[in-house]
């Protein structure tokens, strides 16, 4: 690892805290980012010569704050209109010894920084792009490549998103418990979206790294709020899903379903961390949607073979999730467990009422076809599979359904003889 490598790692690690704190000082995202950039430039000059500072974040905040203050002063002279609001809480800047930086603010700084990216007016893709730019410090070029758009288009998207949140009213007061809980919820949803971008695009190297990044940010949040069971649940869920990544695709890049995966290729390290976090979260007895989903993923991870899967427990967990967050997709997932525990007929009865709402959902027709097939209702199964193929989003999904159809054709062909 060269000097530049560890400096880069140290800056990346310090970034959420440093930009979050600078945002609190300057109350302006652009000013905070500029000050941080300036601090990084000075770090690149100073750290190789003087060695790493003991507290990289504090160093960057202090230097960034001073450089930002210079900029504000310069601006004030030029426009001759000093912005009192912008500099009112910067009076103590000269005595800004590293140790006096208020560490208690840090965790809410990071949470706030993540939270402003989750502005409800922003579509999901913009929330993710903004978080990757501001919190993770990815370049516009890297983000553009992950989203398969031009750099100019991504630049514009991020600029618009920033203008949107700039006009918003991000609160800089220390949040109360209810406000903090709301922030956790929004941030967790956004981090899950970031993860999903990487997870669903794992075959593309430009996107695969986003799953790791979501895990890094989730761990960071948990380090700051170490007793929050839902953040444990979120971190565990991401780890347990990501643990399977090496087993998820075949040599041709086609998706391999969970039950067909080579479980020896699952990452035992990620599973160990995920299982420990699920167990920690359970002790708090404050269940939540991420904890439940993580607990389901944990049961899959604990099963040495598909046959060892604890389906009754997965069924109960999905029932709890259905109760907490009712959605046809959750019911559909539960139906898989029900089919294993109580048979295909019960599962089919559970999903038939969803036909209207999931009429255009690939997995609905795929699962329905599979259940009908188990019940020897070949003709209906075939209709369902035909519908599924028409809705398949990837060649792998279509290929999987086609194997079922081929089997039906073969079986019914034999029956006709």
């Amino acid at each position: 690892m060269t000097d530049l490598d560890w400096i880069e790692a140290a800056i990346t690690a310090a970034r959420p805290q440093a930009v979050g704190a600078l945002l609190r000082y300057f109350r302006d995202l652009d000013a905070a980012e500029e000050a941080f950039q300036e601090a990084c430039l000075r770090a690149l000059k100073s750290w190789p010569r003087n060695g790493p500072p003991r507290d990289a974040a504090a160093w960057l905040i202090l230097v960034g704050r001073n450089s930002g203050v210079d900029a504000v002063r310069k601006q004030a002279r030029l426009t001759a209109l000093p912005d009192e609001a912008a500099i009112s809480d910067l009076d103590d800047v000269e005595d800004g010894v590293v140790e006096t930086l208020d560490a208690d603010h840090y965790r809410d700084d990071v949470l706030r920084l993540l939270f402003i990216c989750c502005h409800p007016d922003l579509p999901a893709t913009q929330q993710i792009a903004l978080a990757l730019r501001i919190v993770s410090g990815l370049t516009v070029k890297q983000i553009a490549r992950a989203f398969l758009v031009s750099e100019a288009a991504m630049e514009q998207r991020i600029t618009r998103a920033k203008a949107r949140i700039g006009a918003g009213d991000a609160s800089f007061e220390t949040p109360g418990p209810i406000e903090r809980a709301e922030r956790f919820e929004a941030v967790a949803a956004m981090l899950y979206l970031v993860f999903n971008e990487g997870y669903s695009g794992a075959a593309d190297p430009a996107r695969a790294g986003l799953a790791d990044e979501a895990i890094r940010l989730s761990r960071l949040l948990l380090r700051l709020f170490k007793t929050e069971p839902e953040i444990m649940g979120l971190t565990a869920l991401l780890l347990l899903q990501h643990a399977r990544s090496a087993a998820r695709f075949d040599a041709e890049g086609q998706v391999i379903l969970l039950e067909d995966q080579d479980r020896s290729r699952w990452s035992r390290t990620m599973i160990a961390e995920g299982l420990a976090l699920v167990d920690k979260a359970v002790r708090h007895q404050r269940p939540g949607v991420y904890q439940i989903q993580a607990a389901i993923a944990a049961l899959h991870a604990r099963a040495a073979t598909p046959a060892d899967t604890d389906w009754p427990q997965i069924d109960r967990l999905y029932a709890a999730l259905e109760h907490m967050q009712p959605s046809p997709v959750v019911t559909l997932n539960r139906a898989v467990a029900v089919s294993k525990v109580a048979g295909p007929e019960k599962a089919l009865a559970l999903i038939e009422p969803l036909a209207d709402r999931l009429a255009n959902y690939f997995h609905f027709h795929g699962l329905r076809g599979g259940l009908l097939l188990q019940l020897n209702r070949q003709a209906e199964a075939r209709t369902a599979f035909d519908r599924a193929i028409a809705l398949a989003g990837t060649p792998a999904e279509a290929a999987h359904i086609r194997t079922h159809l081929d089997r039906i054709l073969k079986e019914t062909g034999l029956a006709a003889e």
Binding site: W6, A9, A10, A13, R54, A56, D212, A276
Partner: protein, 129 residues
């Protein structure tokens, strides 16, 4: 004589390494470890998972308390350890220096002489009995 080399580092910095950087560091450390193992100087080694997955049991006057996270809030976290068999402290310091060259940047190694050591967790005769 046995020494434990306790590895402390800033885990958020370690966590910001790319997979390639992490793999490269581990490969360089493995060269140092293999070399020591060949000389019969290396005992158990471990890399620990992040402190976010840690739980602490704190003894109290009554029922012990179970707390989320590591025992102490520190700027550098306890991330792993080596047990080495060396004749002199100088030799252990040299090993720690080799580890530091393999894994540069921030961090520290605390060298502690081992008092009681059971390679199998308890005296062999007690296990056999």
């Amino acid at each position: 004589m046995q020494y434990a080399i306790l590895c402390y580092n800033q885990e958020d910095v370690v966590g910001a390494w790319t997979k390639e950087e992490d793999d490269a560091v581990m490969a360089r450390l493995m060269v140092v470890q293999t070399n020591l193992a060949k000389q019969g100087k290396l005992g158990p080694t471990a890399r620990l998972l992040p402190t976010t997955s840690a739980t602490t049991l704190r003894k109290t006057a009554g029922e012990p308390m179970v707390i989320d996270g590591p025992f102490a809030e520190t700027k550098e976290q306890f991330l792993g350890f080596y047990v080495v068999n060396c004749d002199t402290l100088e030799e252990v310091i040299q090993i720690a220096k080799d580890l530091a060259i393999a894994n540069p940047g921030v961090g520290s190694y605390e060298i502690r002489p081992v008092g009681v050591f059971f390679p199998h967790g308890a005296p062999q005769e007690a296990i056999d009995a």
